[in-house]
């Protein structure tokens, strides 16, 4: 092959690979553009604060926003302590070449790959039928916990987002210099004092990043809550942790697939999608910013 043909083929293939990247970005742009074009005009105070009316062809999406918020908050409360403590174990306490640590790592990796619908089945089989019905029996037979609702859905999502939190927290702990730990220990601090006063404060931005990523992931998941508590339509906001709830993602699904009058629901559908996208993108964006800030500081 002569030098010029080689240059040419190189240029050609470089161009193709660049095109691949451009195509992905373009797809993202089209998705966002379509959502904005279709949903922008729908964004209004009434849309954010109102309820669906007239067979979900008019009104707002407040119950869905509320349900999503409460659900992800409960999920966060459940997942953060467990995720952070697991990462602390892996990075701070596990002995080198610990079997348990290796097992935890493999488990977490595989947990991250379990299909979200299987988490739904798990929530249904374990939380609702096993724990919930067991609790109801123990509490005297009245149906309270043995049904889909906020509590079980949020716990299901907590299991699903556990790997996200663990991975982010471990990265954050890695960024805290060992020197600081040694300095603290040399001053007579115990391991837990060092952890609490030096390591965790240093890792806080990274842990926060993990929390935000988990929220963003949890807020967008529909398949698990499909089986564990999301409701098609509710006249009232959830009042207890056992209540079913409306949800932006599920609402999107419902409006897109179950509507008797596609054209009539279209604006609402687009508005809902746009709100959901804005929510997850904002969260992702904040996480990316936070992370790049911590990374550059760790490398400084």
């Amino acid at each position: 092959m002569s030098a010029t043909t080689r240059k040419l083929t190189s240029g050609l293939f470089s161009g193709i690979s660049g095109l691949a990247a451009a195509l992905i970005v373009a797809a993202l742009a089209v998705i966002i553009g379509d959502a904005v074009a279709g949903g922008w005009s729908k964004l209004s105070w009434e849309f954010f604060t109102g309820e669906p009316t007239e067979g979900m062809t008019a009104g707002g999406i407040f119950p869905a926003i509320w349900g999503t918020t409460v659900l992800t908050l409960m999920m966060t409360v459940a997942v953060m302590p467990v995720g952070v403590m697991t990462a602390i174990y892996l990075h701070e306490y596990a002995p080198v070449q610990s079997r348990l640590a290796a097992a935890v790592r493999v488990a977490v990796q595989n947990l991250a790959g379990v299909p979200s619908i299987v988490f739904g089945l798990f929530g249904l089989g374990f939380f609702i039928h096993f724990l919930g019905e067991g609790m109801d029996r123990a509490l005297g037979g009245e149906l309270r916990y043995g049904q889909p609702g906020l509590l079980w859905a949020s716990l299901t999502l907590a299991v699903l987002t556990l790997p996200v939190v663990i991975v982010a927290t471990e990265e954050a702990l890695r960024a805290v210099p060992t020197d600081l730990r040694n300095a603290s220990l040399a001053l007579g601090a115990t391991k837990s004092q060092t952890l609490w006063r030096i390591v965790l404060p240093g890792a806080t931005p990274g842990i926060l990043t993990g929390a935000i990523l988990a929220v963003s992931r949890g807020a967008g998941e529909v398949a698990p809550i499909l089986l564990t508590g999301a409701a098609y339509f509710l006249p009232e906001l959830p009042s207890t942790i056992n209540s079913q709830f409306m949800h932006l993602g599920y609402h999107t699904y419902v409006l897109a697939t179950q509507s008797p009058d596609v054209e009539a629901t279209r604006p609402l559908l687009y508005g809902t999608v746009l709100v959901l996208l804005m929510l997850t993108f904002t969260l992702n964006f904040v996480a990316v910013l936070l992370r790049s800030r911590t990374r550059s500081r760790a490398n400084a």
């Binding site: 002995p95 080198v96 210099p177 020197d179 600081l180 040694n182 300095a183 603290s184 220990l185 040399a186 001053l187 007579g188 601090a189 115990t190 004092q193 006063r197 030096i198 404060p201 240093g202």
Partner: protein, 261 residues
């Protein structure tokens, strides 16, 4: 009568290593070392890099415990009690035997909080008392005049030399009996180095000091005793003046005269 007088005037060993060997996994890093560390004197550890100085130093306050592969045989005595005895409280030990690291490592906290750290973890919370102790430590480490107006500023904003003196102040705040310093000035400019050396001179009135140094002149300037390490063994120890003028061992002589190292 005369025996008693002798006993009082003879410098007392604050710490002693007895037949101490330290291994990393199966690699011998310090070999069968016995050494007395005299109270309120400065002992300098010199020798080519990799010869086990830091390893020995870390054995004196059990920082080696944190390295999973490290193990040891032999004893280290502090006031005649073996610090490796089963009943010994490591936390208490490290408060009595403080340490300053090669690379200054202030916490990402304020100047004040850095110095107060050791006191706070020991349970001191009284603001006034903390302030007194912080001031005293900063004065001892000759940093007070430079930082007294900005105690609330981040310690990371200090210069390299100031940071290292802050780390010394931090170690002094909990009033240790022995201070271990691992090449405390190796990363500093000559001016800051001089300041630290002056400081060590002052500190020996109150503290027993062990300093690792790469710099022969520095050892000559600051120390009373010097121990020469070579490939994991302590080749020779003695009064600094003698070590630098008439060492008994040829390897020591070669090293201090700059033939290798």
């Amino acid at each position: 009568m005369s025996a008693a007088i002798n006993l009082e005037s003879a410098p007392r060993p604050k710490m002693q290593a007895r037949g101490l060997s330290i291994y990393y996994a199966n690699k011998l890093a310090v070999k069968d070392l016995s050494l007395d560390i005299t109270e309120k004197q400065v002992l300098a550890l010199i020798g080519p890099s990799g010869c086990g100085k830091s390893t020995f130093l870390r054995a004196l306050n059990r920082m080696n415990d944190l390295i999973p592969a490290a193990r040891h045989t032999g004893e280290v005595l502090l006031d005649s009690a073996n610090i490796y005895d089963r009943g010994v409280d490591v936390v208490e030990l490290r408060r009595r035997v403080g340490m300053v690291f090669q690379k200054s490592n202030p916490f990402p906290k304020s100047i004040f909080e850095n110095v107060a750290y050791g006191l706070r973890i020991a349970g001191m919370n009284d603001r006034a008392e903390l302030a007194v102790r912080v001031e005293r430590s900063l004065e001892q480490s000759a940093l007070w005049d430079e930082v007294k107006d900005r105690l609330g500023d981040s310690a990371l904003a200090l210069s390299g030399g100031q940071q290292q003196r802050l780390c010394i102040a931090r170690a002094l705040a909990i009033e240790p009996e022995v201070v271990l310093m691992d090449e405390p000035a190796s990363a500093l400019d000559p001016l800051s180095t001089a300041k630290i050396e002056d400081l060590i001179h002052e500190l020996k009135a109150r503290y027993t000091i062990v300093i690792v140094t790469h710099n022969m002149q520095q050892a000559a300037r600051v120390s009373d005793q010097t121990a020469f390490f070579f490939m994991g063994e302590m080749v020779e120890v003695g009064p600094t003046a003698k070590m630098f003028t008439t060492p008994t061992n040829r390897r020591t002589e070669d090293y201090v005269t700059g033939k290798f190292g």
